[in-house]
Amino acid sequence: MNRLSSRLQEALERWGVLIAFAILFAISSFKQGFDFVNPENFRALLNSNAPVGILAVGMTLVIVSGGIDLSVGSMVVLAAALGTTAMNAQIAGESSELNAVLIGGAVTIAAGIAAGCINGALIVFGRIAPFIATLGGLAAFRSMSLAIADAGEIRSQSATLFSALGRGGIPIPGLENAAGKPLTISFSTVIFLVVAVVAQWFLSRARFGRHLIAVGANETAARYSGLSISWIRFRVYAIMGLLAGIAALVQSSRMNSVSTSQLGLGSELDAIAAVVIGGTSLQGGFGRVWGTVVGVLILGMITNMLTISGVSPYWQGAIKGAVIVLAVLVQRPSRS
């Protein structure tokens, strides 16, 4: 019996997040019926959670390396603001729309990487605890975006191309939405899933992933093994910046504009919650991207379900909090 229960514990620890997902899914389907189990609803769910999902994938890597990044939401808004501004300048300067969109996209990504490198430099060379360095970034990057846009919105001047990128997708044969048009998998969903698969592969199969785990679990051991801790840690923040840039691109093209006071606000906590719900340890040294993806879906599903079923907005926070805690509770490791 004892052995059985320890087996069960182990299974829960490994697959608990999937079980939590399944339970939540069952409840949602039961309560909402067709409103919930509806390809269009899933498309929307994936689509709207893609940006925070991309951030959460990056956050998984950062957390595995023993760090944290509180500045992701602010990096998104800064990258999006700079990128959209650059794009508009190109359009005003009479480049072709395609050119302008390409340049805008490149600036967005580059700005994300640059912001990530600033974080990385403060943490690695400045030897500042990641929590603090990125807390500074959380304040500073958004502040810069506000200054760029006088706290307003930056509207994309690309009439069609940019928003086509954000709202378009790949049609799924045989499925139609409520309006009778073919249902698509949005580009943002595709990008999210590709990013997740690549990151999971890196984490479990590539050298870099191995090194991240080593640095996160035991930095001294990693250093004694000849790893360059600084370079590994720097890179993971730069990658986080890259992913924030990608998320910024997905978001700004989808909205065809950047609201500097609101874009990405609070997404750091959502991303961290998704990572931990997915079973990655905040201590570092262990993590799984697939769990994070499920965690993002769990969080998205709660919100979606609460929205559809019209639960009082006042109580939504309580339910969300409870689900986060429960999802972690089912998969906590057994007492040593």
Binding site: A214, S225, G226
Partner: protein, 523 residues
């Protein structure tokens, strides 16, 4: 022998820590095809020297000489690139990676693109190396689930995997059983014969005398003497006299040492202080019956992984227990180490870094932590820090602990001094029964003798002592009686008379490794 090529040398290397000069202008040569042993008391600077060589730290002054060129490493990676590999004194593995992943860490075999790790090659290499060391652990197992001994084998395998020109082993045998140690020595000799430079540090001086081609003695950060093996194969000092373990010890401490072990007084008979009846740590050991009287020292021998530590932890309430414990005749059961402590039990852990001590805290905080109530007044609101300091200073004197300031973190102390702090922490609780797990792991001969004296004195004062050790001479020299564990059960033992016999060590070894099945009454 002097004509062998010098691969690596230190040139007047000096290292200063705040308040301590750990190394003082040490100049040494390490030659190809030689096993060079470094010995010295705890805190003599051995590990510090090795850290300089392996790039873990930069010297304050002086430099290294590598194949004729002067060099200093800023990072371990630079030393590794220069062909230097090291097994550190403290375990340094990644607990969340598997055995094979740890062995390959930093030089993973990769596939086509140089990005993906080639798992098959990695596993094959790990298997081969572990087989050389006779380790039984699975290559796919997580390192966090290994015992210390097994983990040390992984460390050694990792070092061997580097194919280095200079290999450094800082007290590799401290946590190994005799068989593992023997296999390690085979490997050390092989490495030497392949023309590599091997640096070996140990407090087991007879090991040193057996295996080293050259021995350098450090005292207080200075190189005080060197011995080399001559054609005839025996170690000799500068004047050509043959060198044995006693001579090494004398060189280390700067005076002649008396006998290592104290005289065994008669065990005070009478009522047993602690009695285990059909006891066990749930899931690990079972059916252990043992009684220890006041004034008696009982040793527990066994191979790595025989369940001794877990059993001891179960006694003091750190693990779920099965069976019964009688303390001075009445049945007890502890839910926590605190409860056991209040009943007069103390357990000194074998794992100083992980569970035994708070390395980031001061000596004072460490020594008084379990017994803090004694310094506390006004309902816990006031801790008498003067009394604490006085107590700590008393222990520093009594145990001869070398620390610059009692309020600086003990992470700065050498391993042996840390061990003494751990001992002081528990002796301060005034236990009636003391369980010491590996009391002298990583402790130098001088300190060892002191610790033995202390244990014997405590026993004479009426303490019941259980000593768990993988160092058989230690058990034989210290204990009144030894029980042997294997696979979580008591499989044999040796009485006081048997311990006096010459073949005792071998006999215990045979029982412990299951070669002779002997179940005689010894409890």
């Amino acid at each position: 022998m002097e004509n062998r090529a010098v691969i690596l040398g230190t040139r007047a290397v000096t290292v200063d820590y705040p308040g301590v000069r750990a190394l003082d202008a040490v100049t040494l040569d390490f030659r190809a095809g030689e096993i060079h042993a470094i010995v010295g008391e705890n805190g003599a600077g051995k590990s510090t020297l090795m850290k300089v060589i392996s790039g873990a730290m930069r010297p304050t002054e002086g430099e290294l000489e590598l194949a004729g060129h002067s060099a200093n490493f800023a990072q371990p990676s630079e030393a590794i690139a220069a062909g230097i590999a090291m097994v550190h004194q403290e375990l340094n593995l990644v607990p969340t990676l598997t055995v094979e992943e740890n062995i390959a860490l930093g030089r993973e075999p990769t596939g086509v693109l140089g990005i993906a790790v080639d798992h098959r090659a990695q596993r094959a290499q790990a298997r081969e190396l572990l087989a050389l060391l006779g380790s039984a652990c699975e290559t796919g197992e997580l390192v966090s689930s290994l015992s210390i001994g097994q983990a040390q084998c992984v460390e050694i395998a990792k070092c061997l995997a580097r194919d280095a020109r200079v290999l450094i082993f800082d007290e590799p045998t401290a946590v190994l059983g005799e068989q593992e140690a023997a296999r390690l020595f085979v490997q050390l000799r092989r490495l030497r014969d392949e023309g590599r430079a091997v640096i070996f540090i140990s407090h087991h001086l007879d090991e040193v005398v057996t295996i080293a081609d050259r021995v350098s003695v450090l005292r207080d950060g200075q190189l005080v003497e060197s011995f080399a093996r001559d054609q005839s194969g025996s170690l000799r000092d500068a004047r050509g006299r043959s060198v044995d373990a006693g001579r090494l010890a004398a060189a280390m401490v700067g005076r002649e040492l008396g006998s290592l072990f104290p005289n065994k007084g008669a065990a005070i008979g009478g009522q047993p202080a602690i009695e285990l009846i059909d006891f066990g740590a749930r899931g690990i050991s079972q059916g252990i019956s043992l009684s220890v009287s006041s004034g008696e020292i009982v040793g527990i021998a066994g191979l790595v992984g025989s369940g001794r530590s877990e059993t001891a932890q179960a006694i003091v309430g750190l693990r779920p227990q099965a069976g019964r414990i009688l303390l001075a005749g009445s049945a007890v059961r502890f839910e926590s180490a605190g409860a056991a402590m209040r009943a007069g039990l103390a357990y000194v852990s074998e794992d100083r870094k992980g569970s035994g001590l708070h390395l980031s805290l001061s000596s004072i905080a460490n020594v008084t932590l379990p017994s803090l109530d004694a310094y506390t007044s006004r309902g816990g609101l006031h801790v008498d820090s003067n009394a604490e300091r006085a107590t700590t200073n008393r222990w520093i004197d009594t145990l001869g602990i070398r620390c610059a300031r009692p309020d600086s973190p003990i992470a700065l102390l050498s391993g042996g001094n840390q061990q003494k702090i751990a001992l002081a922490r528990w002796l301060e609780t005034n236990p009636k029964v003391l369980i010491i797990d590996e009391p002298t792991r990583g402790v130098d001969v001088g300190a060892k003798a002191e610790i033995y004296q202390i244990i014997a004195q405590l026993a004479r004062d009426g303490l019941a002592c259980i000593v768990i050790s993988s160092d058989l001479p230690e058990l034989i020299g210290l204990a009144h009686r030894v029980v042997v564990m294997r696979g979580g059960r008591v499989v044999g033992g040796a009485s006081r008379e048997q311990l006096a016999l010459r073949n005792c060590e071998e006999r215990i070894m045979r029982i412990a490794s299951g070669l002779s099945a002997e179940l005689e009454a010894c409890a």
